[in-house]
């Protein structure tokens, strides 16, 4: 039956069909698709880091050694674990190099500032504020990158 139909078709009948198929299946893919779970994790982690530094700033003092590194070890470990998990989650997503780089910079700087705190065994108000600002800016960049992927998600539902 199929052989009968195909033998009746002239080449100029099915060539445009092939062309249409090629054009229809041709889609440009430059970035990963939006991931609501990752977006929520970025927000949660941004809040955790903000709370960490605000708590250090408002509830501890340099004078009575309240900012000794050992007082914050658990928080540092928990945040680093979450940041590392987010980095790996970004890294395995195809076409996600840009977001992965932002996450890597955030993780590297967090580790660097943790090491600085460990070495000096204290942090001034000014440095806490600067660290808080640094991570707020990095999480904002991370969120911008993830939210930008919504643009293509919206277009694929429209098409």
């Amino acid at each position: 039956m199929i052989r009968q139909i195909t033998s009746q078709l002239k080449p100029w009948t099915y060539l445009p069909l092939i062309l249409l198929f090629i054009i229809s299946s041709c889609k440009v893919n430059l970035i990963a698709t939006y991931n609501a779970e990752v977006s929520a994790e970025i927000q949660t982690l941004a809040k955790t880091v903000d709370r960490f530094y605000l708590n250090m700033l408002d509830n501890t003092y340099e004078a009575n050694n309240g900012r000794a590194f050992k007082n914050f070890t658990n928080d540092y470990v928990n945040i680093e674990v979450d940041l590392n998990a987010l980095y790996l989650k970004n890294k395995i997503r195809p076409l996600n190099e840009n977001s992965t780089k932002i996450c890597k910079t955030t993780l590297d700087l967090f580790k660097k500032y943790k090491a600085e705190h460990k070495t000096k065994n204290t942090l001034s108000d000014g440095l806490i504020k600067l660290n808080r600002k640094t991570f707020s800016d990095l999480f904002y960049a991370m969120q911008v990158a993830e939210d930008a992927k919504k643009i293509i998600s919206n277009s694929s539902t429209n098409n």
């Binding site: 054009i23 889609k27 780089k101 000014g126 904002y140 293509i152 694929s156």
Partner: protein, 106 residues
């Protein structure tokens, strides 16, 4: 078969232009926000050097970190631009696909 390549190209260009202009304001606002963040952070670093919270070595180290943050912000803008390019390119391909489909003798 009724397929006018000039009309199709014009329609494709209109689709690209429409998509880019729809999102251009968003790119501009985000870039301005990044610049504002940079300004605030660099001001803080300068103040901390003046107050002595940062010695010269730490000051230079923080400036290098700021450069890395700027690069991260550019990565975010790259994602935004790629998203717009992807949406525009696919809108143009969609126009071409529809035009070819309409011209098919079936």
């Amino acid at each position: 078969m009724n397929f006018d390549i000039n009309n199709t190209i014009n329609d494709m260009l209109a689709a690209i232009k429409g998509t880019v202009s729809d999102h251009w304001e968003h790119v501009k606002e985000t870039a301005m926000q990044f610049l504002q963040n940079e300004k605030e952070r660099l001001e803080m670093i300068a103040q901390l050097r003046i107050s002595g919270d940062l010695n010269q070595e730490d000051f230079e180290s923080r400036l290098k970190d700021s450069q890395k943050i700027m690069e991260a912000e550019l990565e975010a803008l790259a994602v935004l631009s790629k998203a717009i390019i992807q949406k525009a390119a696919n809108a143009a391909i969609d126009v071409l696909s529809k035009a070819v489909k309409a011209a098919l003798p079936i």
